[in-house]
């Protein structure tokens, strides 16, 4: 089915989100929709899926005019989508979530057998490891993402919109997804693919449309004729810049040391040394136990063995409150909507939360002016775009939200900062800004532990890299910031660990 978007405009009270936008998604093609955060992609997707109505312009399916008043209409017309927000019912099973739109059954009754059978078929394409009967609430973030994709596939949609489907899944799972996409393409489905991962886009798409500030910059150009450089300059309006983060700051004293740490999450024998003015990278695939380690350090998980030293003194950190106040450790969560931000509160509050106690007067009151003055430098430094500091965070774009969640730790000026996946779902321009900022934080003397699954990011930023696999550290090397060397070192560490494990496994099997 061919979906045409003709001269669509959409204005919100404060901004023109889409300005006379036209494009066409053809059957049997993967069409990448690119653009920075705030370029209007999500608004466009919401119009196509019936969540928003356009102010002007129209939608056509195979040349026929269509109007969507609700998501139901769009679904009925054969348009399916994987949205960015989690759209799962937590206490329902995986299978039921996948088939929520049209559960199999007769006369109003549900046939669970059929649900699980069908869901299993869909999941087998992506990740056979997920139990279709498991409650969604018990799944990991990556698994939920897979379930969302399976859910979209279940629709047998003729137009399939995928908004950042690979943001939180492993490379392995992403590859499975691309195979499925290839098959759907062969079946004549029109696929719209939204992603910030340029390499991914260049590999799997046939055509690309670029949006910038609500306007179309390039419409449906063949990917073969599009270079990476041109794509970036269309998106950001100028040439791509690589973050200037050349290390070289001298390493200071040891700021944080873990000795033979074991945790309730299942880590064991973790040794780690983090110096002042250093960025220590913690690389690993999704599920390697990196975030869990960071959480355990700040007291959000239980340490069951070993010792933590902050500075040169042993520390027992029981909760994040103690981590911040007593040991000056901050943690920028990967789950920014769930843990990093209080979405319904203002920008000011979200940033100043870590310093309220410090800036309060003797009566524990915070004059608004003082709070504002304390926050403004961070807002400016990070170039957070908003028209008022009192704006609630849920009205910000993802990139700006991420900046806010980082800004509060900049404001706190902690000695040690654990940063978890800082650029997931963030556009290129913002990503570069964030990279430079992280480098600056380290240059200013803070000890930074950077967790990332983005190898390029890791190699750009880290001074040293620890490789984690299966809740253990399996390798460590000094990063010379040359991509080939770094990736080689990382992959060999992981492979060696895999082999070891397999070996152990086999031995266990023989015994």
């Amino acid at each position: 089915m061919r979906l045409s978007i003709v001269n669509v405009s959409k204005t919100f009270p404060s901004v023109k989100a889409l300005d006379d936008v036209s494009m066409e998604f053809a059957p049997g093609e993967v069409h990448a929709l690119m653009g920075e955060n705030g370029a209007g992609k999500s608004t466009l997707l919401k119009i196509v899926t019936g969540l928003y109505r356009p102010d002007a312009g129209l939608l056509k399916l195979d040349g026929e005019l269509v109007e969507f008043f609700s998501p139901r209409d769009a679904l009925a017309a054969g348009i399916g989508a994987v949205h960015q927000e989690r759209n799962l019912v937590p206490r329902f099973s995986v299978g039921e979530n996948i088939l929520l739109e049209h559960p199999p059954g007769r006369r109003g009754f549900i046939d669970y057998g059929a649900i699980y059978d069908r869901a299993r078929v869909l999941l087998e394409l992506l990740d056979p490891g997920i139990d279709v009967r498991a409650e969604v609430a018990t799944l990991s973030v990556a698994q939920m993402q897979i379930v969302e994709i399976a859910k979209a596939l279940s629709l047998n949609a003729r137009v399939l919109l995928l908004d950042e489907p690979t943001a939180s899944i492993t490379d392995h799972e992403a590859e499975a997804l691309f195979k499925v996409i290839a098959r759907l393409k062969a079946e004549g489905v029109a696929i719209v693919f939204v992603s910030h991962k340029l390499d991914e886009v260049l590999t799997i798409s046939d055509r690309v449309t670029v949006l910038r500030d609500g306007r179309v910059m390039a419409s449906g150009e063949a990917i073969a004729e599009m270079s990476r450089r041109r794509l970036v300059s269309l998106m950001i309006g100028r040439e791509e810049r690589i973050a200037d983060v050349a290390g070289g700051a001298k390493q200071g004293k040891v700021a944080l040391e873990l000795r033979e740490i074991a945790t309730s999450y299942g880590h064991s024998g973790i040794n780690l040394r983090l110096h002042e003015a250093e960025i220590l990278g913690l690389y690993g695939l999704v599920g390697a136990g990196r975030s869990e380690l960071a959480r355990s350090i700040i007291g959000d998980g239980r340490i069951t063995g070993g010792a933590i030293c902050v500075g040169d003194r042993p520390a027992r950190i029981r909760n994040p409150n103690e981590a911040l106040r007593r040991h000056r450790i901050g943690y920028v969560s990967e789950d920014r909507k769930g843990e990093g931000l209080v979405l319904s509160h203002s920008i000011v509050s979200n940033i100043a939360v870590t310093i309220w106690r410090r800036i309060a007067t003797r009566l524990w009151l915070i004059p608004p002016v003082v709070e504002r003055n304390a926050v403004t430098p961070q807002v400016q430094r990070l170039a957070i775009k908003s028209f008022s500091l009192d704006q609630t965070v849920d009205t910000l774009s993802g990139g700006n939200q991420q900046k806010v969640s980082l800004a509060k730790w900049l404001a706190a000026k902690t000695d040690i900062l654990l940063i978890d996946e800082p650029t997931v779902g963030i556009d290129i321009k913002t990503k570069v800004e964030l990279h430079e900022l992280i480098a600056q934080i380290a240059r200013d003397g803070a000890a930074v532990l950077l967790i990332s699954s983005d190898m390029a990011e890791m190699i750009t930023l880290a001074d040293r890299i620890l490789v984690m696999h299966n809740f253990a550290v399996v390798g460590e090397f000094v990063n010379d910031r040359i991509y080939e060397n770094g990736s080689e070192a990382i992959m060999s560490a992981i492979h060696a660990a895999e082999k070891d494990r397999k070996h152990l496994h086999d031995r266990a099997a023989i015994a």
Binding site: R72, H83, V89, I110
Partner: protein, 317 residues
């Protein structure tokens, strides 16, 4: 052992264990506890409360609350009485109309909630006051006594220790279970409670489900009221005036999520039974009236504590 672990992992397992242990304790302390008649008395008292708990539970399922459960029950009870005494309607017809009134009352709650977009909490608080107002205006707080003898006798009849009044909740419970766990509409309703946005994106009409939940809630409150009339032998205007707390305590102690999207029917039933057991024990043990409330609070806390401890133990393993 595997069977036991499976049992213990159930949310209602703690309550079931407490009920059994509590019963054993009561039997040990008071010889009259395990008599056929006493068990009948206890179950008879629980009958209305079970329906009241279900009535609240179905609204909790969509993540809302119904503060008008008792007020609507009271209204249905007196209208039911009026139909029998003043209009002389035949009993089956009167029951049918009473249930319809309950459903309509719930429907109004649901309609107002969805049409205005105002939370059900406020709407049902206001309509509850209105329902009570109609009740008082019609009765001037005097009960209707003209209830057919055979209907009152039905409320007193039993088969061994099973009161006739227990049948309606016993029939409603599996129907609710089938509805919520097996039918498409039921699943949609729970999906709306679990994640309204996701449900809407999946083409489910949240508004329709909210109205359905409120209508069912009203119907169940109406049924509870009809049972209460049979139990009391008179259509008392005070019926429902103390339903509010039990309506929440049953489902919530039983494991239903306050936030919506998950209910435990068996849990709610067991919670109501445990509370009925506690109340029965307090009378059987001849507890000084001044100690009754204290003991009730303490025992509820113990119940919840034990259940929590079980969940904790399961979580650790």
């Amino acid at each position: 052992m595997i069977g036991f672990r499976k049992f213990a992992s159930q949310e209602w397992a703690g309550l079931a264990a407490i009920f059994v242990l509590g019963s054993a304790l009561a039997a040990f302390l008071s010889p009259s506890f395990l008599t056929e008649y006493n068990i009948y008395v206890m179950l008879r008292s629980a009958s209305v409360e079970l329906l009241v708990a279900f009535s609240q539970m179905i609204v909790l399922a969509i993540g809302q609350m119904n503060l008008a459960v008792g007020a609507l029950g009271g209204l249905v009870a007196v209208l039911f009485g009026a139909m029998l005494q003043l209009l002389g309607l035949p009993l089956p017809l009167a029951i049918l109309i009473a249930l319809l009134i309950g459903i309509v009352g719930g429907f109004i709650n649901g309609l107002l909630t969805t049409r205005t977009g105002i939370n059900g909490f406020i709407i049902t608080l206001a309509t509850g006051s209105a329902f009570t107002g109609i009740n008082l205006g019609l009765t001037e707080s005097r009960p209707f006594h003209g209830i057919p003898v055979e209907f009152v006798a039905l409320g007193d009849s039993r088969w061994s220790f099973v009161p006739a009044l227990l049948w309606p909740p016993l029939i409603v419970a599996p129907l609710l279970a089938i509805f919520l766990y097996r039918t498409k509409s039921g699943r949609k309703l729970l999906a709306v409670g679990g994640n309204m946005r996701a449900a809407e994106l999946s083409g489910i009409s949240a508004n329709a489900m909210i109205i359905v939940a409120h209508a069912i809630s009203g119907g169940l409150a109406g049924l509870a009221a009809v049972l209460a009339v049979s139990q009391l032998g008179a259509a008392q205007p005070e019926i429902g005036s103390t339903w509010l707390l039990i309506s929440f305590a049953g489902p919530i102690i039983g494991g239903t999520a306050l936030a919506g999207g998950y209910v435990s029917i068996l849990g709610a039933m067991l919670a109501v039974l445990v509370i009925a057991l506690i109340e029965n024990m307090l009378v059987l043990m001849k507890v000084d009236p001044y100690w009754v409330r204290f003991a009730l609070g303490g025992l509820v806390l113990v119940t919840v504590g034990v259940n929590r401890w079980r969940a904790h133990q399961m979580g650790r393993n």
